[in-house]
Symmetry: C2
Subunit: 322 residues, 2 copies
């Protein structure tokens, strides 16, 4: 029976290898302009493959306007939700906990002060990353600087985005590896974003655990405490940091083949649904992303199978029966 | 370990159930006219779901022209490849063999004579079913009666069909359950075709075996012999007949949930790639189908995983270890 379970695990490994050989690219390809909707659906959304689109934001005033000075003048007094952490890691596993950031409501100018070094915050890292369509909700004054959806994507998908998010970050701020149930267009306005991507088909190599939710709380003396959320159930999350993967603890990750890409000002990353991603950025980088609801179709269905089988075979791994 | 293998098998069963609950229809839906290419890609090709399209062939002269008399006049003298079997089953498992039909080169008029009962062939069943783009290759005179591709489908897929096939069959002729690596548009010109369909996600419930290839050969006295193809390797095929499933022998088939549909003259079945299908037709039914090469993308990749895992878990079944 061990042999047969081993066979099942080998199926998963070969499947992932086959994905890389069959249809994935070794790096993230570039398109040179906004695509035709049908072409984009057939070539990228349907096959669930990432790409970077250039020359598709040139008409956005934001690209030239969004300097720190402009943002301060236009929306400096607007109150935004800011994620505050001691180390830049919001929504990440720390020990046995899944630690959420402290969320503060601050005028955007206060964030700009910190990013520009005019105000010292000691060890705390600020990141405007609230993913609740915060651009439209918190900063509607910026809407004239861009479009609230990308026409070719909305036509391709036959719907409008579910959320439009604004991102403004410290270079220390990191988005830990996770996946979303969205088709994502990530538009960099200034600076650059650095992505580490893993396809859904690499799921068998990605460790998951269940962690007690907690959140950071900064005391008056500046020290961060980690406070459990008493009313919350454990959440599944990826404990592995792809920048420093602990291969002793998670040897299966050796099978994963991450793609890396840098998305520069004026470029759009198409980040397909269910792709794992880890994100960093240049200091003060501004970005806007569009989340379009994914379809819960055959690909999702297959992914769910992959996930449940990954768990079944991984449990053998952990118990050392292989 | 038995429990863990059982868990893997349960994953597969739940996955198939989830497909039916999540995105499959309980019957094959109808579209009322030729679709827009992008809509068709997004709603049917991408999600790999069958549908029947009405009112999309009305402009084909074939729909009114293709009577027996017309075909006799227009192409009666043309030689076509005819599959001849004793029972209507071409390409089907018989005992321990995968039995191919006897292929004869006959003028189409001879086939029409048999279908009309003007000539008795004893027990032999004739079926024009050669899937080598036989419409274009063997019957080019009929091309003016239809289109050699369907524009909305070719636009959706960004390519022309790989083959255009002509079908003319006895009501006893049956196409045994199998799948193809094509996106298939099946256009019924006269009569009707009856399909039993199973989604790729039902693969865990579908028995496969490996069989010695053989072919029918009719002796001068009319009796059919089964002659092994000595130079051929065994081929994988489905031994189960969905019209009379042997559930004692293949108990896993209880989990399968076939869809049935009848496609009538003037209608098109979109039969997605990798869907299992079993086909019967009314006597003398004429049809044309378009095969477009499928994409070897993430869905194919996932299907290959499903297939290999189905084999791994099925082997446990057969050895009675569950």
């Amino acid at each position: 029976m061990v042999n047969r379970m081993e066979a099942a695990r080998r199926c998963l490994a070969e499947f992932s290898q086959e994905a890389h050989d069959l249809y994935l690219n070794r790096s993230v390809p570039y398109l040179d302009g906004p695509p035709e909707p049908l072409d984009f659906y057939r070539d990228w959304i349907g096959p669930n493959k990432p790409c970077i689109i250039r020359n598709a934001l040139s008409h956005w005033p934001a690209l030239s306007r969004w300097t720190t000075d402009y943002l301060r003048r236009a929306v400096g007094s607007k109150v935004v939700t800011v994620a505050v952490t001691p180390d830049g890691y919001a929504d990440a596993v720390r020990g046995e906990r899944f630690v959420l950031p402290e969320e503060r409501q601050l005028p955007l100018a206060a964030v700009l002060d910190v990013l520009e070094g005019q105000v010292q915050t000691g060890s705390s890292v600020f990141y405007v990353q609230k993913q609740c369509s915060n651009l439209l909700e918190e900063l509607p004054e910026l809407v004239d600087d861009l479009e609230t959806h990308l026409d070719w994507m909305s036509t391709a998908l036959g719907k409008l985005p579910d959320a439009v998010n604004f991102w403004l970050g410290d270079s220390r701020a990191v988005t830990s590896m996770h996946k979303d149930h969205y088709e994502n267009l990530y538009c960099v306005i200034s600076g650059q974003k650095d992505f580490i991507l893993l396809p859904p088909t690499d799921r068998p190599f990605i460790p998951y655990g269940r962690y007690q939710p907690a959140e950071y709380r900064q005391r008056d003396d500046g020290v961060f405490e980690v406070v459990d959320r008493s009313d919350s159930e454990k959440v599944p999350w990826i404990p592995l940091d792809p920048l420093r993967p602990d291969l002793q603890r998670y040897p299966q990750y050796r099978g994963a083949r991450p793609l890396r890409c840098s998305v520069k000002a004026g470029e759009i990353l198409y980040l397909p649904s269910l792709w794992f991603h880890h994100v960093q950025q240049s200091h003060g980088c501004t970005a806007v992303n569009f989340w379009y609801d994914m379809e819960y179709d055959i690909k999702y269905n297959y992914y769910q199978l992959l996930e449940s089988l990954s768990d079944v075979t991984a449990s053998v791994h952990h118990q050392g029966e292989s």
